[in-house]
Amino acid sequence: MTTQRPLPTPTPETAHFWAGARDGKLLLQRCDDCSGAYFPPRPFCPSCGSRSVAVFAASGKASLYSYVINQRPPSGFDGPVAVAVVELAEGPRMMTNIIDCPQTEEALVLDMALEVAFEKQTDEITLPLFRPAGSPA
């Protein structure tokens, strides 16, 4: 990569998520009251409003919910890249990229099984990306 992707600046409400990614963990949150899991991170439950929530490590398993292939590579990408939305096994959906997979309609099949793959960007920031489940790491 010649240029750097735009990288996140963590806030106090999201710092645990980015620290987890740095340690190779995908951290979600769950409500103590209604037990719903959610993402992105915030110190309350978006389903019931409870402030009683806990952080937990997700399995890293997901399926491909949808995507769009950008033929004009954005900053930090060498070629066409798919902006993907994956549905995590725990329920929440998140935006990401699919790696170790051609960025084509033929290869990116909706509902295909995926697993998280952490890609270090800087000493501070590691991004959770996803690859087809069972592909060699």
Partner: protein, 200 residues
């Protein structure tokens, strides 16, 4: 609100259209506003309400010499200006203002006085969307559509109608930037077309 008690009394675009490298965003707001006021036979001092998005409505008011009693800076994407019309109608009906100016300007091609497109890296989109190559609408608008197509078995060809309709609508506007080659070849519809169909 009494029916027909609020009306659009003037409307206009900037004096030049297309790529305009010699005017800033606030200049484009003012240019279009002055043209709209001329269309309505009004001066800045006749305006007591201002609404816009992207640029602060107070900046637009100050720049034009308007002292507003009512402002609206609702900014929720491209539909903001339609909401401004709704809010303005309600404000006039409620007596908060009598004559409201709604402006929109971008300097989309030239980016003069327009700041940067990039989102704040600590915002939610800056943290959880931008790192994955999400930028403008083309990098995300069809994502829910693709899921919908799979879930409900809609062929992708159906999406072509969106482009075709947009082009057809654009063709109705003489200043449209729709390339001529993309214009759908469609016969202008006339009333007798419908009449003849109903007779057959």
């Amino acid at each position: 609100m009494k029916p027909r008690s609020v009306a659009v009394v003037g409307a206009a675009e900037t004096t030049n259209l297309g790529t305009i490298p010699d005017q800033s965003v606030i200049g484009l707001h003012a240019d279009a506003a002055l043209n709209a006021m001329a269309d309505a036979g009004l001066k800045p001092s006749d305006i007591d309400g201002v609404a816009t998005a992207g640029t602060s409505p107070t900046d637009v008011a100050h720049y034009l010499g308007i002292t507003p009693t009512w402002v609206d800076g609702t900014s929720v994407g491209g539909c903001s200006f339609m909401l401004h019309v709704r809010h303005a109608t309600a404000a006039i009906a409620a007596g908060h203002a009598k004559t409201i100016l709604i402006t929109h300007a971008e300097s989309g091609r030239s980016r003069i006085g327009a700041g940067r497109w990039a989102s704040d890296p600590s915002s939610l989109s800056g943290q959880f969307e931008s790192p994955y190559g999400v930028g403008g609408p083309p990098t995300r608008f069809t994502i829910p559509w693709l899921r919908y197509a799979k879930t409900y078995g809609v062929p992708i060809e159906k999406l072509a109608n969106v482009l075709r309709s947009s082009n057809a609508n654009g063709r109705l506007e003489p200043s449209s930037k729709v390339p001529r080659s993309n214009h759908p070849r469609r016969r202008p519809r006339r009333h007798h077309d419908r009449d003849s169909r109903s007779r057959n």
